[in-house]
């Protein structure tokens, strides 16, 4: 019901605004709903506002679960490719 996309904070601006990069697109986003956002961090953007910070630990935790399902080395290989791309 609610489209929100992960974007990387590239510039903090006045009045709680920031420039956020979403897949090669830069757009101005309101940070009023989140706290202590730093440049380089990822936020979930919905209707022009960051509605949450992306929890990197949470993301890692889930990825670890995927590893447990299958062969470790195969996923590790996928990860490497991800980082390259």
């Amino acid at each position: 019901m609610c489209l929100a996309v992960p974007g990387k904070v590239v510039r903090l601006k006045d009045l709680d605004m920031a420039d956020v990069e979403i897949g090669g697109v830069e757009t101005e986003v309101g940070l009023q709903l989140v706290s202590d956002v730093k440049v380089g961090e990822y936020v979930l953007v919905h209707a022009g506002y960051a509605i949450n910070k992306i929890d990197e630990e949470g993301a890692k935790e889930m990825m670890k679960l995927f590893e447990e399902i299958g062969e470790l080395d195969e996923i590790a290989k996928l990860r490497e490719n991800d980082e390259i791309s």
Binding site: C2, L3, V5, E21, I22, G23, G24, V25, T27
Partner: protein, 336 residues
């Protein structure tokens, strides 16, 4: 028609445009040439095959990254002619200008028309100008028409696709639509994206040089790749199956689509073409396309199948299949 008034979606190249064509225009204007519904008419004038087409340009904003309304007006008509395999020759240009329009802007526009015409090797040989009261038009509208010559032996049409043929796309999709969108009032976002607006006549000639088995050529403008593939599937009475992973999408286009809730398959292009080619010649044509600067990212994205007739299927990255329908209405930015 369920609409008693024209709404914007009637002009978006999707289903309602098609309704308008069938229920209004074809009723009054019908003849065998028009009924083919290709982007151009193919005429036989004293034994010479001539391609003839017209298009109006009302793009907003008129200047955008990668081009302007003038470049678009030339390339669009050159490309429509080229999709019949024709060599474009002469173009007409008619301007509807709103009172108060800056002369300097007009000069910029005619300048880029000249450049585009030079690149495409066409001449602008006739034209017309109308100025209307403020508010009666939005800044400037341009109509161009063009004619080109088709060499004997060339038979390219949306209705020629055969089972087993390959579908080739000449590059990334959605660049034009998103470049335009990024400049719309109230929606501004920054992207390094440029419109792909380009004349494709040389690319088409390069392809014709290496193969006599090119069956269909179309440029996926309004309505995007999905809509044009559907038109080919219907005209030829075949099914088209494409693979999601083979369709090239630039990063900025992907990002903007995620953000606005668009599907790149439906976003407009102005410098891309789709070719349906006999499988024997597909690799050869692909190689020729990759050598041309407007075709360097070409990909074989799928093939023609027998059924379901008139439908386009997409094989997702999960290996599942889904039907790709034509664009319904305009794509509007959405939050849910």
């Amino acid at each position: 028609m369920n609409h008693d008034k024209i709404i914007l979606a009637h002009g978006s190249g999707g289903k309602l445009s098609n309704d308008l064509l069938k229920n209004i225009f074809l009723k009054d204007f019908t003849n065998p040439i028009l009924e083919k519904l290709d982007d151009m008419a193919i005429l036989n004038l004293n034994g010479v095959k001539v391609a003839f087409t017209t298009d109006s340009y009302v793009v907003n904003p008129i200047f955008f990254n990668g081009g302007d309304i003038g470049k678009l007006a030339i390339c669009g008509t050159v490309n429509d002619l080229s999709m019949s395999g024709a060599v474009p020759k002469y173009i007409s240009a008619a301007f509807v200008i709103e009172e108060g329009f800056p002369v300097d802007d007009l000069k910029k526009i005619t300048g880029s028309m000249r450049k585009a015409a030079e690149e495409a090797g066409v001449e602008i040989v006739t034209g017309d100008t109308k100025v209307v009261e403020k508010g009666s038009a939005d800044k400037i509208f341009i109509n161009t028409a063009g004619i080109g010559l088709i060499e004997s032996g060339i038979d390219i049409s949306g209705s020629n696709a055969k089972v087993g043929d390959r579908v080739i796309l000449s590059g990334t999709i959605g660049d034009h639509g998103i470049a335009i969108m990024s400049r719309r009032e109230g929606l501004e976002f920054k992207t390094g994206l440029k419109s792909d607006c380009a004349p494709l006549n040389q690319l088409v000639q390069d392809m014709l040089q290496v193969s006599e088995k090119i069956r269909c050529l179309r440029d996926p403008t309004r309505g995007g790749l999905a809509t044009i593939l559907n038109e080919i599937a219907k005209q030829s009475g075949v099914s088209i199956c494409i693979k999601e992973e083979k369709i090239p999408v630039k990063e900025g286009v992907g990002g903007a689509c995620e953000m606005l809730g668009f599907d790149p398959l439906y976003v407009a292009n102005e410098g891309k073409l789709i070719a349906v080619v006999d499988s024997i010649d597909a690799e050869k044509v692909l190689k020729a396309m990759k050598k041309n600067k407007y075709g360097k990212d070409s990909q074989i994205i799928g093939e023609i199948a027998e059924s379901p007739k008139g439908k386009v299927l997409l094989k997702t990255f999960l290996g599942t299949r889904r039907i790709i329908d034509v664009l319904v209405g305009e794509q509007l930015p959405r939050i849910c």
